[in-house]
Symmetry: C2
Subunit: 300 residues, 2 copies
């Protein structure tokens, strides 16, 4: 029997691929890595999952992650891709002021993908979800030429009204919750600080605030000097001759939360601006960052 | 300005592609075709949708449809692909005994895909969902080399216990609900006839009943002579020298429902067998169809 050289592992033995295992084998491997957390009444393995949403209103969001567009297998580990996929979908639920409970994950992939890649992906999905108490409750696996992930997140409103994009009111403070523990911080903004409008920053701070300004019919004034610049970003941008604030204000894919809080709210978050009456839009009260750019698919 | 010949429509004018419109333009076109039905508290346009599930338990299922695997654009219209995508996901919810309420749809597609194709897809999704009172409440659009659909369906249990695969008991009748109005028929099996176990036939009747036999720890006896053969199937199979019953019993992708009902239940469905105690599995009490085959991805 001839064995393709790329199937021999450096440490000995053979690489097991998705097609070696077959659809049901791969699904069994994935499920074994995904224990059900609180609120999961029926996990993977039946026609559908059953998840507890005591509020009686379920919050639901779907995102696609396409290989070559949203991630590259030669740049990112499967574990990191799984964490990112979970994080961005959980963030959408939190941005509505809901507690994430469950993820469903569709995986389309080539038959020669090593099953170890799929297992690492499942580990990343599980661990990111566990940070906020959610778990993967179901999904689908299909053959395809490249890897595509379709992640759906479900959440419970716990009696709160959803925090949409249309709730911003003149006088509100604009606050931002940074990268670390973002989901928990976002939930705190909604549940403890009474956020009137909230969004997770995925298309860029300015673009996403622009959506809130338009949906709420308000003007949002930002102060560039108050924008938090993460460690390392200033150095990296400056070395490339770029205004670091243009990355902070214009870059997408941050998955921080930006919320409008009523005035006088106690806060432990960075206040970066305020909501005023006026023509809907986002403006800077000081010098705007140079070279701002947003992000849109199909246009680059 | 040069125009590619394939961009000129036979009836005059230019084909508008997804990349002409941009991500947000395409999303706006889709949303305009997807009015929210009952139970939708917040439809498309925010970070996530909000759907009413008064039961407090949401039933959720995800399926992928990959171009070249599950459909071909040169064989099926976008409208039919939309209907199929909706139908198979709604069926998963019904197979749990829940009423479908909402769909979320992720669409990955090439930038040169005509927007008219996307509009037809949205029409198919909408019309199939409307048959059972569900609506499309959200989704995502991304660029990709080929078309992939990721559909998530959500449903409400309306106070019923979920109809899983493990509820079949010796003495139960095995009944099947056919193609026409399947979702409504499936829901009737669960809510009026007290189905103890139910599955939608997607991998083939025998394979799917095998899952129930294993999950319930029972033996399922079928009578081949009782299997309903849809109009046209007998002729088509016979002309190819194939036993028509092998298609009925082994073919996948039917999206009929097969349920185990307690004995003595009034029924208007085809009874095709019964549940007995014994080694888990599916057997025929008469001559088994010739050349039975199931269906599994990554293996063909």
């Amino acid at each position: 029997v001839l064995v393709r050289p790329d199937r021999i592992r450096p440490e000995g033995g053979l690489v097991i691929s998705v097609s070696d295992d077959g659809e049901f084998g791969v699904i069994a491997r994935i499920i074994s890595r995904l224990p059900s957390g609180p609120g999961v009444l029926l996990g993977p393995g039946d026609d559908a999952a059953v998840v507890s949403v005591p509020d009686g209103r379920v919050v639901a969001s779907t995102d696609l992650l396409v290989e070559g567009r949203h991630f590259r297998r030669d740049w990112s580990s499967a574990y990191d891709i799984g964490r990112k996929a979970a994080a961005q979908n959980l963030a959408d639920i939190v941005a509505m002021g809901a507690r994430p409970v469950a993820l469903l994950v569709g995986l389309a992939c080539p038959g020669d993908l090593p099953v170890a890649w799929v297992e690492d992906l499942a580990d990343g999905l599980r661990e990111e979800s566990a940070l906020i108490g959610a778990s993967v409750v179901g999904g689908d696996v299909s053959a395809a030429d490249s890897v595509t992930l379709a992640v759906t997140a479900l959440g419970d409103l716990e009696g709160r009204e959803p925090v949409t994009r249309s709730g911003a009111r003149p006088g509100d403070q604009v606050v931002v919750a940074g990268r670390l523990g973002t989901a928990a911080a976002g939930l705190a903004l909604a549940s403890e600080h009474g956020a009137r409008a909230m969004i997770d920053v995925s298309d860029g701070l300015i673009a996403d605030l622009g959506n809130i300004a338009e949906a709420s019919g308000v003007r949002i004034e930002l102060t560039a000097a108050e924008l938090p610049v993460p460690t390392g970003v200033a150095e990296a941008a400056t070395s490339l001759g770029v205004d670091p604030l243009s990355w902070v204000a214009g870059g997408g894919d941050d998955h921080a939360f930006v919320a409008m809080l009523p005035p006088g709210t106690p806060h432990g978050f960075a206040v970066i601006g305020r909501v005023v009456a006026g023509v809907p839009g986002v403006v800077f009260t000081d010098a705007a960052p140079l070279g701002l750019a947003g992000h849109e698919h199909f246009r680059s």
